[in-house]
């Protein structure tokens, strides 16, 4: 039996999906089309004329060591953000799952950072790690460590990773906790009776049963690290020092709006568009096919 609602005419269904189509068209298809179009041109510095260059922008980008370096930076950054935020979230979720009393309070408090906008989170961490007045850098100084993320690229990377991962922990935590609580208690008990102690149970039962959640979060977090961390990076390092924290999406901004090279910026957007497309395909393909126990 057909369970879906079917419409006879053409106009009503069209009308019903129209808002979604309009939103997608205005905020996605139009700018994406613009980006693809512009990526084929080089405009003059005053924006008065454009010169058609074909795939010249792409050729230049892929041959540009700074752009390739940005790829590596992005990879390092997104892997670190994903691993840190998911690792900590999983650890906290396992603890919360064992908690009986006060788990509501614990959960609520853990969700708060998610409500903080990335740019604000960036500023918070920037204050704490400020090289002159930051609390954390002062304590580090007491310990004999001279924190200076303004000069040291690795420290800058560490700081943006921590600031980006911080807000993300809440989100991952919620999903992990839900995933953990969906595992039937009796399965864990059966494993306990079978002789598995906590760590063995986690490794052989809990983690495998959690894998659909883990995979989903993996993709979502990578996408987050790729795109939504702009605010954090902009407020904390502005991509520096020496481009050590310039991830792809930041380079789009830096080259286009600061460097005024709109053609290159558009080409970079197109490359990012392709990456998101691939990630989405991967996500759908695997999550659809994923075994649901």
């Amino acid at each position: 039996m057909e369970k879906r609602v079917t419409f006879k005419g053409l106009w009503l269904p069209l009308l019903l999906v129209l808002p979604q189509i309009v939103i997608t068209a205005v905020f996605f298809f139009y700018p994406a089309g613009q980006a693809i179009w512009q990526s084929l041109f080089i405009p003059d510095p005053f924006g008065l004329s454009m010169k058609y260059v074909g795939l010249g922008n792409f050729e230049y980008l892929l041959g540009n060591p700074y752009y390739r370096a940005s790829f590596v930076t992005t990879a390092v950054f997104s892997i670190l953000v994903t691993v840190v935020s998911m690792g900590i979230a999983l650890y906290l979720a396992v603890l919360a799952d064992r908690l009986i009393k006060g788990s509501g309070v614990y959960r609520t408090l853990l969700i708060w950072p998610y409500a903080v906008a990335p740019a604000v989170a960036g500023v918070l961490w920037l204050f704490m790690f400020n090289t002159r007045v930051g609390v954390v850098s002062w304590y580090l100084g007491l310990l004999g460590y001279d924190w200076n993320h303004v000069l040291n690229g690795e420290e800058a990377m560490g700081l943006v990773v921590v600031a980006s991962a911080w807000g993300r922990i809440s989100y991952n935590f919620l999903f992990f906790l839900a995933g953990l609580q969906a595992i039937p208690k009796s399965v864990i008990e059966a494993a306990a009776i079978d002789g598995a102690r906590f760590w063995t149970r986690f490794r052989t039962i809990v983690f495998p049963l959690l894998s659909p959640t883990t995979f989903f979060l993996l993709v979502v977090n990578i996408v987050y690290a790729f795109f939504e961390t702009f605010g954090v990076i902009h407020t904390i390092t502005s991509g520096g020092p020496q481009q050590s924290t310039t991830i792809l999406v930041y380079k789009v901004y830096a080259d286009g709006f600061v460097g005024q090279d709109l053609g290159s910026s558009a080409a970079q957007s197109v490359i990012l568009l392709v990456i998101v497309g691939l990630l989405t395909i991967v996500q759908f393909k695997f999550i659809e096919r994923r075994v649901h126990y």
Partner: protein, 336 residues
């Protein structure tokens, strides 16, 4: 194989005591069924033996050793859960082998033991399948297999048949009984189904509100229930209760008279010890259940063989029973 002993075992959740002291000595190889309505504490009792619930006071002994503080894995037990609790991401073989692998059993040994268990449970064709590709009965067997391969000294069953349909339940009941006989492993079996309790048990514990009302062999419990609750819970249809005054019993303490449905004789009105009106009859083929209303409005049931002519609905009849079938209960529900 081992004996199990519960010694004034109590359990409280917070300030609420849910098990008020249970004592039993279980012999090696005995099949004990813990039966009672939901919420009577039967599962909690079993989980305390398993080590999945802490013991508030009293002792659990397995094989003569107090195991109160031992982890489940250190108690040498195996448990079959109501929802089977199979590992969904593992094949049937891996499900059964899991405990052995953790114990570090050599591979050849594992294969041999799992194969033996699979043969016993007719699971050989399914060893490579995942649990979700099996039927309810097959999953049930895998859960049993997982318990068997580890050769534990005690089997614990937590309502293992309640997720199966009626026909399969009867079949699996027999299989469990046979298996237990063959392996001779001491077993504790929790159920709310008194038929399961009657058919499986060497001895049964009838639980009521956290108290073991009666412990004994099924037929002994049936013939001689210790409390009103046991008389009403064991047997289907349940024991009839008649107000002692109405039944003309003047025995001081006695508040209620209990008579099993099969012990009631239906006579023409005016004869027998009690007058009643036939409300409706249920002919079940081999037997007929006659539902009667007493003068005080209480409903009782008589179980007659189908060959007897039964009084039509709406007629007045007399009821009689033998003195030896009388069970008297005082106002607290105790036998007197």
């Amino acid at each position: 194989m081992a004996t199990v002993k519960l010694d004034s075992l109590k359990k409280s959740f917070g300030k609420t005591e849910v098990i008020h002291g249970v004592d039993i000595d279980i012999k090696d190889g005995e099949f004990i069924v813990i039966v009672g309505p939901s919420g009577c504490g039967k599962s909690t009792l079993l989980r305390m033996v398993a080590g999945l619930e802490t013991v508030t006071s009293g002792e659990v002994q397995i094989g003569g050793a107090v195991v109160n503080d031992r982890e489940p894995m250190d108690r040498d037990i195996a448990m079959v859960f109501q929802n089977y609790a199979l590992y969904p991401h593992m094949s049937v073989f891996d499900n059964m082998a899991y405990g052995l692998k953790i114990a570090g059993t050599p591979k050849a040994d594992i294969i041999e033991r799992v194969d033996t268990a699979a043969k016993l449970l007719q699971l050989q064709p399914y060893l490579k399948r995942r649990p979700r590709e099996l039927s309810g009965g097959q999953r049930q067997r895998v859960a049993m297999g997982r318990a068997i391969v580890r050769k534990p000294s005690v089997f614990l069953f937590d309502e293992p048949l309640s997720n199966l349909d009626a026909k399969l339940r009867v079949q699996m009941r027999l299989e469990i009984k046979q298996l237990q006989r063959r392996l001779g492993v001491t077993s504790l079996y929790v159920t709310h189904d008194q038929v399961e309790a009657m058919t499986l048990a060497d001895r049964m514990i009838v639980m009521n509100g956290g108290v073991a009302d009666q412990i004994g062999a099924p037929l002994e419990v049936y013939a001689n229930p210790a409390t009103e609750f046991v008389a009403g819970f064991i047997g289907s249809p349940p024991t009839n209760f008649v107000n002692a005054d109405l039944a003309g019993i003047r025995n001081g303490e006695a508040a209620k008279l209990g008579v099993r449905p099969e012990h009631l004789t239906v006579l023409p009105t005016g004869s027998g010890r009690l007058e009643a009106r036939v409300m409706y009859t249920e002919a079940l083929g081999a037997e007929t259940l006659v539902h009667l209303e007493l003068a005080d409005g209480a409903m009782i049931t008589a179980r007659r063989s189908a060959t007897e002519a039964s009084a039509p609905e709406g007629t007045e009849v007399g009821l009689d029973w033998q003195d030896r079938d009388e069970m008297l209960f005082d106002h607290t529900g105790k036998r007197c």
